[in-house]
Symmetry: C2
Subunit: 168 residues, 2 copies
DNA sequence: TTGAACTTTCAAAAGATATTGAAACATTTT
DNA sequence: AAAATGTTTCAATATCTTTTGAAAGTTCAA
């Protein structure tokens, strides 16, 4: 396998991985491309390499910037904007964790708080089962929240050893 | 909020959470419904409670069974099949982790192995950057793989581990 | 073996999501 | 201030995913 083939395969693999995670395929592909390129790319470079439209490129690059995964770079003497990706994969993982926690875990925890207030006959079997489920899920969510928060704050890879300890 | 309202909201929240994770909304909703119901439900019960078609119900219940999250129950003297969900949320999490690892992490690790073999001029800047990226991502993936494997193998209920922390 | 009860399949339809590309907008150079 | 260069927006379009429901398949009691 030569470099262009390998690049193409990496981009497409990263893309379908993203898709399975509710991240738009193109966004993941642009990220993959920027991850493996040593120098900043312009919007035109990205369009050309991935065969996608200008609008699509613009939209997804902006989203990558929102996530903190990509940075806008201005090269002195050039009109164009260039883009680079954060290359430290550890940081990449913490940024993604931060965004997903914000978008997913935090809202679900809010809902769980509300659901615990549900009123009804405490002798009712369904009611008991419901309260029980919600309370168990809430406890699990809180623990997950703590673990992810620790991960997000972590600057080093001590995380793995401490997570292993938590589980064991 | 009364019980039916709370149930409905839990089901819809769990459903959109699933959707964000590449799990079909209906599959997640059926799972939510079975999670909070103390007794087994039949396909007709599920159809009625979620207002979905028979085909949809069948397809997604089958998938939940594949994931190990739901079990088929036969009640003596009844022709119908009934379904129950695994209620221990820790087990649920490990089952989901197992499936996702199998479907996502394992394949990406295979690809990464291949990409490390990519041939090209080792003096080429792009080549160097590519090899570097792939090698970093591979290391990260291997660490993640170990962590998830430990999690999957852990039989311990979260309840005890959080209890331990309270005591310490 | 038949028919009733139940389950599964799958092609068509609906629904959700992503992409394009041309027009509007913004900025810099001449 | 006009032209050139570059960026953003968004309605229309294309694509991908899910759902439906009727028909086919299966199982089992009589």
């Amino acid at each position: 396998m030569n470099l262009p083939e390998a690049k193409a395969q990496f981009i497409q693999t990263w893309g379908s991985l993203g898709a399975q995670w509710g991240i738009n395929r193109t966004m993941a592909q642009i990220h993959a491309l920027l991850l493996i390129m040593p120098d900043p790319l312009s919007a035109d470079d990205i369009m050309e390499q991935l065969n996608i439209s200008r609008g699509n490129t613009n939209m997804n690059v902006r989203e990558l910037i929102n996530w903190g995964l990509v940075e806008r770079i201005l090269i002195p003497g050039e009109r164009k904007e260039y883009f680079v990706a954060e290359k430290d994969i550890w940081k990449v993982a913490t940024y993604i964790a931060r965004e997903r926690k914000k978008r997913e875990l935090d809202p679900i925890m809010k809902v769980l708080q509300q659901l615990q207030q549900a009123e009804g006959d405490p002798k009712d079997k369904e009611m008991k089962a419901f309260k029980d489920s919600i309370s168990n899920i809430t406890k699990f969510a809180q623990q997950t929240d703590k673990t992810i928060s620790a991960f997000i704050k972590s600057e080093e890879s001590w995380f793995y050893s401490s997570l292993l300890k938590l589980i064991k």
